[in-house]
């Protein structure tokens, strides 16, 4: 095993693997956003802020009420799923037939409401869960246990969504809606109900992401800004509404960030990723895998 590892530049391999681990969580975030866009044809600008609320929920349940992490996590997922459904019911549903710009402005408004709410309610302190997970040594390489756990949980979450979408009647209907909205009633499908279910599912994914991100990052009212924009770039790069495209784009971005971080600073990794995005928008404006019609 050691001989095998010696062939590679150990730091390069470490960076590649860390990129894959980061990609898992980014893919999870992108899946939630893509789901909402693909099915309801609406962009939740405030998606990362739902994650932020979920992170606060984890923080308070674990730090304040002393719940164990694994008990708090399902509650957080449920809470954010409920928030997603509420967001649809209160904000999106009345605007379904409105011009897209109005929908964007409305969810953008929710972004500021959530940020301001968090600032007023929780203050601008950086808070963390206080859980310190060990670092896993593998040969000369070090991997954070938190990242590994996040990656696996994100993978499990995505597989669960995949099975739901392909095996169940409801999941099949959700995939069908984006292909022909008008005739769904002929199938006996109540589109409004499907939108609520989809929104709750998108929220649930944001909740799961919150449970994972809270292991690695401190919570503060503006934490959404550190992964919200990149989630949007991933979705656009993959082709908005295209699940497979988003999945691939998440790993492409994660590797650029991780490898960029290896050759210079982590910040440069982000700069490279954004530069790559701009170039790609000229080459493939509809995304890596343009949404098939």
């Amino acid at each position: 095993m050691q001989a095998f590892l010696d062939i590679f530049d150990i730091y390069l391999l470490e960076a590649v693997i860390n990129g894959i681990l980061l990609g898992g969580v980014l893919a999870l975030l992108a899946l939630g956003l893509n789901l909402i866009f693909g099915v309801i044809d609406v962009t939740w600008i405030c998606y990362a802020e739902l994650v932020m609320i979920g992170m606060y929920a984890m923080y308070f349940m674990v730090q304040y009420y002393g719940l164990s992490y694994f008990i708090a996590a399902p509650f957080t997922i449920l809470l954010v799923a409920l928030l997603g459904a509420l967001l649809h019911y209160l904000v999106i549903a009345p605007l379904l037939t409105a011009p897209p710009i109005n929908q964007l402005l409305a969810t953008g408004g929710v972004l500021f409401v959530l940020q301001s709410f968090a600032t007023v309610a929780f203050g601008i302190d950086f808070r963390n869960l206080g859980i310190r997970l060990p670092v896993l040594a593998f040969g000369d390489m070090n991997f954070s246990y938190a990242r590994l756990l996040s990656f696996l949980a994100a993978l499990v979450g995505m597989v669960a969504v995949y099975l739901f979408m392909t095996r169940t009647f409801t999941g099949t209907a959700i995939r069908a809606i984006s292909q022909d909205r008008q005739i769904m009633a002929l199938m006996g499908v109540d589109t409004k109900r499907m939108y609520i279910i989809t929104s709750a599912l998108g929220g649930g994914l944001a909740g799961l992401a919150a449970c994972l991100l809270v292991l690695q990052y401190d919570v503060h009212p503006f934490v959404g800004l550190s992964f919200g924009p990149i989630t949007f770039l991933i979705c656009v790069l993959g082709g908005l509404g295209n699940f497979i495209g988003g999945f691939i784009a998440a790993f492409v971005f994660a590797e650029i960030i991780s490898l960029g971080g290896l050759f210079s600073d982590l910040e440069w990794g982000y700069v490279l990723a954004f530069a790559f995005f701009i170039v790609m928008m000229f080459i493939r404006p509809a995304g890596l895998l343009a949404r098939r019609r």
Partner: protein
């Protein structure tokens, strides 16, 4: 089974149907013929709830269809095969058929209905994992009819099943309609292919400019001068 009384319907300020009265009895096959833009498709859409009448009543086995939410109408036993088939092109044949059995009442008999549809259309079984959008027009029409049959309907609405198909395939589609009838289903079919449809149905209505102009048995319609001159080209 189905009865329409003084139905007016349209899109916004455009009225497409005027005072339509129409009956379909259990076990019958009824045709609706007429030129393009006469309101044939609107008639189908108003029965299945895709649009709502501005006046009049629609009853299915005594149940008020107008008061039933659109997505519950299929549960009354009305399955609509829409114009241009309207399959989900990026879903497999299997998934398209699954959508036909979406409603709670049909899920229990899903496996049984699937066998029935595959028996009727062995071709669909061969192509069950193929994307519906990549199949030929005739196969897509089979899939659309199969999808409608998945809900175990009592009344099948067929909107221009022969549109856009090659003549040989059109022939097959009409054969199919005969077989579906033979299985005991009641059929209401809209067609431009007047000659052929009148050989499949028991009775027919002639609709022009949103109004029922005449009606009668298939033989009467074939013999009628208006139908002959305008649609049969004799």
């Amino acid at each position: 089974m189905l009865e329409l009384r003084s139905v007016d319907a349209g899109y916004g300020s455009f009225q497409a149907l005027f005072d339509v009265n129409l009956d379909v009895k259990a076990g019958e096959a009824v045709g609706v013929i007429g030129p393009n833009g006469a309101g044939k498709t609107t008639l189908m859409r108003v029965i299945s709830g895709l649009i709502r009448p501005s006046r009049g009543s629609i009853r299915m086995e005594g149940v008020d269809v107008v008061a039933t939410p659109a997505h519950r109408i299929v549960s009354l036993g009305i399955a609509h095969v829409p114009e241009n088939r309207r399959l989900f092109p990026q879903l497999s044949v299997d998934d398209n058929l699954k959508m036909g059995a979406f409603m709670k009442e049909a899920r229990g008999t899903y496996a049984k209905r699937l066998d029935f549809v595959f028996e009727l259309f062995p071709r669909l079984k061969e192509r069950r994992h193929q994307m519906a959008g990549t199949m030929s027009g005739g196969e897509q029409q089979m899939c659309a009819i199969g999808r409608a049959l998945m809900s175990n309907p009592k009344l099948l609405l067929l909107d221009e099943p022969s549109a856009g198909l090659a003549p040989v395939v059109v022939q097959q589609v009409f054969e199919l309609v005969k077989r579906i009838r033979a299985s005991g289903l009641t059929v209401l079919i809209v067609e431009q292919n007047v000659q052929q449809v009148l050989h499949v149905v028991d009775r027919a209505y002639l609709i022009e400019a949103g109004t029922i102009r005449s009606s009668g048995t298939a033989a009467e319609m074939l013999a009628s001068d208006t139908v002959k001159e305008a649609y049969l080209g004799v």
